[in-house]
Amino acid sequence: MNVLNSFMNSRIWGRGATALNPGLVLAVVVVFIALSFISPYFLTATNLLNVAKALVIVGIAAVGETLVIIAGGFDLSIGSTMAAAGMLAAYMLDSGFGVAAAFCAAIGLGMSIGATNGVLISYFRINPLIATLAMLAIIRGLAFVISNGREIVITNQTWLNLGTGKLAGIPYIVLILVLVYLAFLLLLPRSTFGRYIYAIGSNARAARLAGISTQRWRLLIYITCGATAALAGLMLAARTGNARPAAAMGFELDVITAVILGGASLKGGRGTLLGTAIGLILLFMINNGLTLAQVPSFWQQVVKGGILLAAVLYDELRRGRVDDG
């Protein structure tokens, strides 16, 4: 018990708003050990690599969502943004543009969607849930309207390669995920961008009175979220080999579950990217375990929802304890 206590209270988890929840790390270890006992297939390289590949796409989109949630916001439109970005890039390649131009345009589209969210939320003061729920519907609907519901098969080899190729045994998409996380892990503690995300989520009025242009920063945060969603959409299309208007439907559930599981607080001001990464690992290990145990996929959906509720409940309880103390 003593060992557990010092494990839980150790300073290696960081301090304050950026502290990692040691319980989460413990949960990952426990689930990992449990799964390797339950299924002999779990600990094989093939399976673990599959888990990693499945995790990557949600993981990239989760970067932006983490920032948005720490800043006290919310973004439900990432799944739609992912689909729209994939389709735009596929269209452009079909129309003879190069892959670089297509990718830039797709990321630009994601940023524009994020900017629209940001303007609605930050300047028109629309509740983030409602604004991004509306965007979810609008963007998804437009993707169907423009494509007439048809999917586009990707023939560009560079793009497909990103989904299947490897460097020194590690899939490109996993490398891209690691690069994105590294970039943001370096950026957040060292930049005013990172500092203000926490400040705005913690007390937006205080941030504004301190001279921080909260509206502009919020806008930038939603633009970042749109960008990472678009990148995730490109990676998803690379994996599946096509761009579909129905792609990534319901992805926001996975993304938001991972972020909340990782310790970001819905009330803003708290959370970390590292936490989100660990939340992702936990979520996908549980998914994988359910698959290996041949639990029907409809039930997996139920379990995911349950995990999200449990994570939010835990956040609520922990906060209650802090407030009372």
Binding site: G16, R190, S202, L209, G211
Partner: protein
Amino acid sequence: MPTPQSEMSGHNPGADSGARPPLIELRGITKKFGGYTALDGVDLKIGEAEAVGIIGDNGAGKSTLVKVLSGVHRPSSGTMLFRGQKLTLGSPLDARRNGVEMIYQDLALCEDLDVAQNIFLGRELKKNFGPFRVLDRQAMTEAAANDIADMGLDFDVEREVGQLSGGERQMVAVARALQFDPAALLMDEPTAALSAEKIRKLWEMIGRLKQRGVSILLVSHRFTDILNICDRIVVVRAGRIAGEMMPHELPPAQTMAMMTEMMTGDTVGNGAEA
């Protein structure tokens, strides 16, 4: 060397019309919220190193007045002069850039950030890192630790503000206001949440600031705060200045009686009222 001019104008230190203009001067400031007039033609001067107390009933317009001075509210009409120069404050940042710091009624701290991060919020120190400008976390932590030590306090500046006591938070807000050597410090009900001992500490600190030449504007419900700290007392009633008095020229009991009269309007305190 004193000039003849300044020797002649000794009747009112706040309204000194001599060589040095007051630090801050408000002329006919009116603030309307929709159809409601919260401030109605307020004239006010705050001299260099002067401590001015503002008292008034609930809803009299005291907070609105300091918010105009700190750039939170733009006045509907009237002018503001800063060291004799006309100045328009578009935001709290403008006020800070002009050396006017404000401690808000609720302190306006970010509870999830630590002490050092709060002290430097919005004015972070940076350093070069290759081609980038990045936060200089070490310099900020060290400077914050110095501030806290200078104030005779002892707590870890890497602690989250949410974990501090009410008095400690108050000190963080003060430390933040003092970090960039302000010319004026505005305080709205700074003692509302403090214990008697913490209040005395705050008074001492305000006294030291005055000696350093910082002008103080203090809004308080507590007569004792005002009597202890202020060189001049301004009474606000229904958005207007109801009167002024110099607490050191009268016995405290008489000052209190006058303040109460002006606040409630039982007796006309000042012939200037329209």
